[in-house]
Amino acid sequence: MLLRIKNLRVAYGNVEALHGVDIEVREGEIVAILGANGAGKSTTLRAISGLHRPKSGEILFAGQPLHSLPSHEIVMRGVVQAPEGRRVFATLTVGENLEMGAFVCKDKKTVASRLKKVLDLFPRLGERREQLAGTLSGGEQQMLAIGRALMSGPRLLLLDEPSLGLAPIMIKPIFSTIKAINQAGVTVLLVEQSAFVALKVAHRAYVLDVGKVVMSGSGANLLKDPEVQKTYLGGGRK
C-alpha cells in the first residue's frame, strides 16, 4: 500500500470538514475522489500535502507517517500536488515555474533530465519557456501545473480538479496525459467534480459526501452504479 489514510479528521476552527475518512492507494494506481462542492475532497488533498494539520487520524506514505511533517518534507518524500486552480506563479516564466517544481532536487543533471521528460510530455511548454506563466491559456497553465509537479520526481501525484475551468476541448488531452504519466510509473490520486471523465481513467474511486466516504469501488463499477449516475453523472457530464 503506497498511501493509507486512516480515520482522518480535519477541522477549520470549530467546524469539522472531514469526519473520519479512510482512503487507500496502491502503487501504480489512478484513484479518484469524487463528490459535490464542499464534500471535503480538496481538504483531503491539502491534509496529505501538509497544508492542514489533521485533528486526528493517520496519513501513511509507504508506511511512514506524513501527518506531522511540514509540506516541503512531504514533497521530498515523493508526494507532490498540483493544486486546485493551477496556482502557477503568474509573473515567473514557464521555465522558472518548472525550475521551482524541482526545488527539492539539488542535482543539476537530474533536474535537466526531468525537464527534458516534462517538455517531451508537454511540447507546448517548451515553445513558451521564456513566456510569463500568467500569459498562458487555461489549458496550458494546467499543463504547466502538472509539469511543475512532475519536476520534483514524485512517486505519488495529487491532482486537485485538473479539469476545472478548462475549455471542454482541453479536458480529454489532459486526462490522456494523466493516464500516460501513470503508465510511466507515477501513482495518481485525483480529485474531480466531473465524475464522468475521472471514472473513465481511474482504476478505483471513492465518493465523498459531507466529509465521509459514502461509496467506493472500481471506476467501471461506479460508472454503472445507478446511485452515482443519478447524483454525480447527470451534472458531471455537461
Partner: protein
C-alpha cells in the same frame, strides 16, 4: 577631458553662474549619497512586506544597530593605521552586514514567527514592541548621548571635478549602495533561491507544495533586509560623523516613505523611491529651505500617492517583489 576643461572655463568666466552651478552639483552629489542610503533601508521594508504583507516597524532600529556596530568596529577594533581609509570602511560595512543579518534573523524568530498565524494587528504591535526593545538596548549599551566619530575615522579626501570640489565620500557611498543593489537584483532575478523568493511572494501555499521551505525564505528576507539596513547605518555614521540611538525613527520613516513612493513590495520601486527621495530632499534644502526639507519631502509623497496610489512603479500585486 576637453569637455570638462571647456565647462570649467565657462563656469569660471561666469562667476555668478558658477555659484549656482556649484550649488546644484554639490546638492546633486549629496542627493546621490543620501538617496542610496534611503534606497538600501527602503529595500528592507519592501522585501519583508513582499512576503509577509507586514511592515517591519523595527527595521529602522536594525539600521540604528548597524550604525552603532559600525562605530564600535571602526573605533575600538584595531584597524590601526588603516583607519580612515576606504578599505577599512568597506571591511566594517561587510562585518556589520553579517551581524545585522543575524539580528534580523533573531528578530523574525522572536517577534514575528510565533505570531505568523495570528491576526495581522498582533504582528504590528509586536513589531512596535521589538522596535522599543532594540532602541532601548542600544541606549543601555552606548548611552543616550550623541556619539561623535573621532576625527580620522572617515576619509576626508576631496576630489576635483570640473573645477568643483567634492568629498570623495559621497561617491563612495553612492557606489557602495549601487553595488549592493545590483548584487541584490542579480540574486533575486538570476539565482534559484532568488526565484524561490519571488515564488513565495506570489503564492505561499503553492510554494510550499513545490517543496520550498517558506519559513526559511522568510528568515532569509529578514536577514537580507537587515544586512542592507545595517550597511546603510554604517554609511550614515561615516557620512555625518555622528549617531544617536533614536536615529532609526526618522530614517526609517523616510525610507518607508521611499518604499511607498516606489510601490511597496516592489524591489526596483524601493531603489527608485529612495534615490528620488534623497534627491528631492537635497534639492529642497538648497533651493527652498533647509528647515522645510522634510515637509517638502512628504508633500512630494502625498502628490505622488494622489496621482499614482500604488506608487511610481506600482505595487505589482502579482510580482510583489
Amino acid at each position: 577631458m576637453i569637455v570638462a576643461e571647456r565647462l570649467s572655463w565657462v563656469l569660471k568666466l561666469r562667476r555668478g553662474h558658477k555659484l549656482n552651478m556649484e550649488v546644484f552639483f554639490q546638492q546633486f552629489s549629496n542627493g546621490l549619497a543620501i538617496g542610496g542610503i534611503y534606497a538600501l533601508i527602503a529595500l528592507g521594508y519592501t522585501m519583508v512586506y513582499g512576503v509577509l504583507r507586514l511592515i517591519n516597524f523595527a527595521h529602522g532600529d536594525l539600521f540604528t544597530s548597524g550604525a552603532f556596530l559600525g562605530y564600535t568596529f571602526l573605533v575600538s577594533l584595531a584597524l590601526g593605521q588603516s583607519a580612515g581609509t576606504v578599505g577599512a570602511i568597506l571591511l566594517v560595512v561587510l562585518l556589520v552586514m553579517g551581524v545585522a543579518a543575524f539580528l534580523g534573523y533573531v528578530l523574525e524568530r522572536c517577534a514575528y514567527r510565533p505570531l505568523r498565524r495570528s491576526n495581522r494587528l498582533n504582528a504590528v504591535v509586536s513589531a512596535i514592541g521589538a522596535s522599543i526593545v532594540i532602541q532601548n538596548s542600544i541606549m543601555l549599551i552606548y548611552g543616550p548621548q550623541v556619539l561623535v566619530f573621532p576625527a580620522g575615522m572617515k576619509p576626508n579626501v576631496i576630489v576635483e571635478i570640473f573645477g568643483l570640489n567634492f568629498p570623495l565620500m559621497r561617491f563612495f557611498l553612492f557606489g557602495a549602495s549601487v553595488m549592493l543593489m545590483l548584487g541584490l537584483y542579480f540574486f533575486i532575478n538570476r539565482t534559484r533561491l532568488g526565484t524561490a523568493i519571488r515564488a513565495v511572494a506570489i503564492d505561499q501555499d503553492a510554494s510550499r507544495l513545490m517543496g520550498i521551505d517558506v519559513s526559511q525564505i522568510i528568515s532569509l528576507m529578514f536577514m537580507i533586509g537587515a544586512a542592507l539596513g545595517g550597511a546603510a547605518g554604517v554609511m550614515v555614521g561615516v557620512y555625518y560623523g555622528q549617531i544617536t540611538f533614536t536615529m532609526g525613527w526618522i530614517y526609517g520613516l523616510k525610507a518607508f516613505t521611499a518604499a511607498i513612493m516606489g510601490g511597496i513590495g516592489n524591489i526596483p520601486g524601493a531603489m527608485l523611491g529612495g534615490m528620488l527621495l534623497g534627491m528631492v530632499e537635497s534639492m529642497a534644502a538648497a533651493y527652498i529651505s533647509a528647515g522645510w526639507k522634510d515637509a517638502i519631502t512628504f508633500l512630494v509623497l502625498i502628490v505622488i500617492l494622489i496621482c499614482r496610489p500604488t506608487g511610481l512603479l506600482g505595487e505589482r500585486v502579482a510580482e510583489k517583489i
